[in-house]
């Protein structure tokens, strides 16, 4: 009888431990989510701590903001490029990639100008019905040549 009671106690403790671990893990996942200022999807550049490209599509226009890494996703990061050429692969598309040029869209209130700008915009008719896609480009971000990978609409997080 004693053994059965011990067995039940062990199972109860194990279940409790499992539940606590799962809840902690869920909490961590919650904490790991970065806030997006422009209601777009965040795409890490290199790693999440390095920086992000926040992407939102309004109609047939793609808007992109370079923002900080970690908890700094509400802080703009300016880049020197005046335009960024994206190679876009739409989901289910087999005929190569589409080209989309994003041009610098300096934010006057943020005192930005072309060549020192964090916001970019580009338009294409096919964007309106794009759905899911992957876009790739090479940019100079924080002084280093890095690969920009956008996975729309879920975002890109290599970590």
């Amino acid at each position: 009888m004693f053994n059965k009671l011990t067995e039940k106690l062990v199972i109860a403790v194990a279940l409790l431990f499992g539940l606590t671990t799962a809840m902690t893990a869920m909490e961590n996942v919650k904490e790991g989510v970065h806030k997006t200022i422009h209601h777009g999807c965040l795409n890490a550049i290199g790693s999440c701590e390095n920086g992000h490209a926040e992407v939102r599509i309004d109609g047939n226009t793609m808007k992109l903001w370079f923002v900080g890494g970690g908890t700094d996703t509400d802080k703009a990061v300016r880049v020197g490029d005046s335009e960024i050429t994206l190679a876009v692969t739409l989901e289910g598309q087999k005929n190569g990639t589409q080209k989309l040029v994003l041009v610098a869209k300096p934010d006057e209130l943020a005192e930005e100008k072309v060549g020192d700008c964090s916001a970019f915009e580009g338009s294409a008719k096919w964007l309106k019905n794009a759905g899911k896609f992957v876009a790739v480009a090479t940019i100079k971000f924080k002084g280093k040549i890095q690969t920009l990978r956008i996975e729309y609409p879920n975002g890109y997080d290599p970590d």
């Binding site: 509400d74 703009a76 006057e108 943020a110």
Partner: protein, 416 residues
């Protein structure tokens, strides 16, 4: 003799311990009630729609400092904002209007703010509430129109005996010993009707007056004419509304853009003020804890008073039993006494609590301009009476059970 009469006679017989128990409960309840009421009213005062301001354009620095300076006339602005930048912000598609101001001057301990004249016509210190100079509302005179004119908030005017026609020389700074603009005599032309907000504790002069005050130097005086060089401390911004009076969601994009700039930031009071409460939250908890402890101590006193009363009255209760009182009657007697004392203590405490809020609120109003009402019904008002009565009954339960178990023969045995 009726049961009710027995209870009253018993309470009167032990009037001193009854009165002490009631007073101690009343003091504990009064402390708890007043602390909760002042706490809730403070929260309400600091969060009431950002005191009519959707957002504040301010210099770089602490957002809390900006809110305290712009809305509560405390602290100092951490810097200045360029007029040209303010104009750019004003042209944003989500901004409806702006009221620029300059802080940093004072008179007899009250802040003197230079402000755009639209403050008196379009600013809403609470939703739908504009400043008034009408005598029917408690105001006097009119808003300023000339350069050397000023308007005083109701509380500032009351404490400094300001009436229209009186003059003053503003101090260049907000600290004791700061220089006075001796060559700039300004005349009060109006007293604002009371608003119950910190605006009652300020004095206002026209925005352009600031640039023309002597002693500020040529550069500042040039700002009166040259917009390129003009600077302000900040501006109250009204944001456009979308459906159902909801603030335009673009305010967050505007905040993001402005906050990336090197010279200004957008502060939303309703986002900043909760942070203030999270900073001082532990003080709140400690005070509440002390108040709760005092109330519990008072109830403990009730318990001791009832217990000692029972010891004194063992023979009386035994006699009552001999005269026909049942065990239940004796037990009910103790419980009713406990109920009476706790209810009377709680009721008296609530009344006393409101009196404390009334007196304390006056002191706080004189210091901060925030209005506290003694008539405010707090959460404590709703729950304290039933909770104290329940706890009082619990405190009376032990003596009541002891009275129920009282041995008649044993307690009627001759003592000597």
């Amino acid at each position: 003799m009726k049961f009710r009469q027995i209870v009253l006679k018993s309470l009167c017989h032990h009037w001193l311990s009854t009165a002490l128990a009631i007073v101690s409960i009343a003091l504990g309840v009064a402390l708890l009630d007043s602390v909760v009421s002042l706490r809730e009213q403070t929260h309400r005062n600091f969060t009431q729609e950002g005191l009519g301001v959707d957002a504040i354009l301010g210099p770089k620095g602490s957002p809390l400092q900006i809110v305290l300076n712009a809305l509560y006339h405390l602290e100092e602005m951490p810097g200045k904002v360029k007029w040209t930048y303010y104009k750019k912000v004003l042209s944003s598609e989500v901004v409806e209007s702006g009221i620029p101001f300059i802080t940093g001057h004072s008179y007899a301990g009250f802040r003197v703010n230079a402000i755009d004249e639209n403050f008196f016509t379009s600013f809403e210190y609470l939703p739908g509430q504009h400043f008034s100079f009408a005598p029917a509302d408690g105001g006097q005179g009119r808003a300023f129109s000339g350069n050397k004119e000023a308007v005083a908030g109701h509380e500032a005017a009351r404490l400094l005996n300001i009436t229209p026609g009186k003059t003053f020389n503003p101090t260049c700074g907000v600290n004791a010993g700061d220089p006075v603009h001796v060559n700039d005599t300004i005349t009060f032309v109006g007293i604002m009707a009371p608003t119950g907000t910190p605006h009652d504790r300020a004095i206002y002069i026209p925005l352009k007056s600031f640039y023309t005050l002597g002693g500020h130097g040529g550069e500042v005086q040039e700002m009166a004419q040259n917009e390129e060089h003009r600077e302000i401390s900040g501006a109250y911004l009204k944001i456009k509304r979308i459906r159902n009076g909801v603030i335009h969601p673009g305010i967050q994009d505007l905040k993001y853009s402005i906050n990336q700039s090197s010279q200004a930031q957008l502060v939303i009071p309703n986002e900043v003020l909760p942070r203030l409460f999270s900073i001082i939250g532990w003080v709140d908890l400690v005070i509440m804890g002390i108040a709760l402890l005092v109330t519990l101590l008072a109830l403990l006193f009730l318990f001791i008073a009832l217990l000692s009363a029972l010891r004194e009255r063992r023979r009386d209760l035994a006699l009552l039993r001999c005269l026909g009182a049942t065990r239940r009657t004796v037990m009910g007697l103790m419980l009713c006494e406990s109920l009476f004392m706790s209810a009377a203590g709680a009721a008296l405490g609530i009344a006393l609590g409101h009196l404390i809020v009334s007196i304390g609120g006056e002191f706080i109003r004189a210091e901060t301009g925030l209005r506290f009402s003694a008539a405010y019904v707090s959460t404590a008002d709703l729950y304290i009476l039933p909770v104290v009565i329940l706890l009082g009954l619990l405190a009376g339960a032990v003596p009541a059970v002891q009275a129920y178990r009282l041995g008649v023969l044993k307690n009627l045995t001759p003592i000597s």
